[in-house]
Amino acid sequence: MAVEAKHLALHHSDGEENLREQLMFDPKPRKEMNAMVMEAMQTADLKYWTVVAILAGLVATCLLGAWGYMIVVGMGVAGINRPVFWGLFISNFVFWIGISHAGTFVSAILRVFKAEFRRPFTRAAELMTTFGLAAGATYPLIHLGRVWTFYYMIPAPNQRGLWPNFHSPLEWDLVAITTYLLGSTMYLFLPLIPDLAMARDNSTGWRYQLYRFLALGWRGTETEWRHLTTAIKIFAWTIIPVMFSVHTIVSWDFAVSMTPGWHSTIFGPFFIAGAVFSGVSAVAMVLFIIRISMVNMDYFIRAEHFDGLGKLVLIFSFVWAYFYFNEFMVEWYGGEAAHHNVMDFITKGPNAWLWYVMLICNIVIPWLTLWSGKVRRTPWMMFVIGVVINIGMYIERVVIVPITLSRGRFPFDWGEYTPRVEILISIGSLSLFLLLYALASRVIPLIPVWEVQEGQEAHSLKKIGKTEVPSVIDVE
């Protein structure tokens, strides 16, 4: 019997060179890693500031400007109408909430399962959660007809003598997104505290003052670590069901309604699969940008990480396709005319090309490329595939919201939808996400150095028979 012990992330188990390809087997002293992360944060060239300025301009004009114009003039400047009461605003909402699932998925689930390749990029993914939620949570506001009365939804005692309606999926949304936003922000902050203390001890000037304030007086005593790691465990376990509930509730915005094409019991898991699918591929995109635009990041972010993410993306492409086929099959087989009208419009109507592009982006391209280890280990290819998948997933939300709504139960009331100011606002919120991320990348240590070092300490070579194989010990 041949016993083959092989490390999960390792491609070829022989040879010193190959071993050094892995971050965990290419350790550097902590001091050096700290210096690298600090340098990456403090390097901001003209190109960086130009990008920031452009993004800030786009946020000011496309998001704030166009939204302000819409508030003053009325919702009519958007393309929504009767019967398409929800348009790209809701598509964007679902898209950004989906993106925000990346951080939790990568960070919490991989942490719970102790998947070692997560270590260098948990923080980059958690930041995506927070900023994806920031971009997504603006949409329920943007889409309100009377945004100045949004506080009617907040369950607080008021002079109107009324509480919000807890029967409403939109109220569940409010509660769930608040929970997720607060939870994921705290979950971002907790593992960050030791790194903030590190930044405090390695910086001067305004940065010192900032990190000193944010580090809250962290020293790293046994008790402090004990409380912190306990809380991180609680958070990792708790945030997973919260994440699942958030996107399930988002899917219930559609699924609990009577609208043909929406009323489907599979929407919950289908939306979660789609969210993780687009979110994880977006993590690969962000890692690629971080790697090429920030100094020292090619040490921390390596081919193995793109490899691991690529496998996840491929799996979720399978899952997504499976759920989508499920939903499609049942509706196709069932004879209800209202559902068939919607399906015919999606697959044969004037916008049917969107549907085919979606299938190509979400199924054909990932399935044809991601099986190859070479593709998965090439960062720019993963970036391109990430872009393609996110286009596909965006189209999926467009198909689900405005295109489905175009075909109601009464043919007399069928309608068409053309986005107008929605396009500007969509560009604006994409810019908001990128701007927040760009600014944070120069203020927040993007690499959880202590987690990387912990991983490097835990990895060693173990002699089995005639060879040494990489092994990982559980230090916790």
Partner: protein, 232 residues
Amino acid sequence: MEESHGKWGMVIDLDRCNGCQACVTACSLENNIPATGYDNASYGRGMHWMRIIRTWEGEYPDIKANFQPVMCQQCGRAPCEPVCPVFATQHSQAEEINLQVYNRCIGTRYCANNCPYTARVFNWFDWEHPEPMNYYLNPDVTVRGRGVMEKCTFCVQRIRRGEETAKAQGRGVQDGEVQPACAQVCPTNAIVFGDFSDPESRVSQLASTQRSARLEESLGTQPRVVYLQSLL
């Protein structure tokens, strides 16, 4: 299936309806509904609370037009109600109809998406009532601003007036005393309004004929509008 026992309801005889649109016009005047113009209306932004669904049957020259006035069906189990996060649309216990509270509406438009009858309309802009139409505004009905949802109310202002008049005179509301604008103007008397809880009322009598049917009854929404199907 649980049958809801309500009060006010409507019977529309499709054999009598000739698609003249008088009800749509009367409804607009009674309820301060603005005209939005050709471009807006054709983009799905007309504000009419009721519409006449016109369908063609057969091929030219052997062709026939069918007309069906559709407005809010005042469902007993209304899908629009539970989805509103702020109770802007909810069930009136007294009249057993769906109310839309404009001041409370924040404009999520979820109710409209969940309405199987596409009965709801949204104020995309602050519509104007150009002269001389502003002199025709009904003082009994709120003029809606931008960003709120609205729909047929069964002319609830007329129901309340009828009930109060009857109460002041110390009697019950008589059959046919309360008439929404659409029923009042219908030249062929296709629209009949009345009290379903009174088995002797005209609506109850008409609704008990074999021609009676409700729109999308299988959805379980329990509509309060009964259609008498066309036999012609």
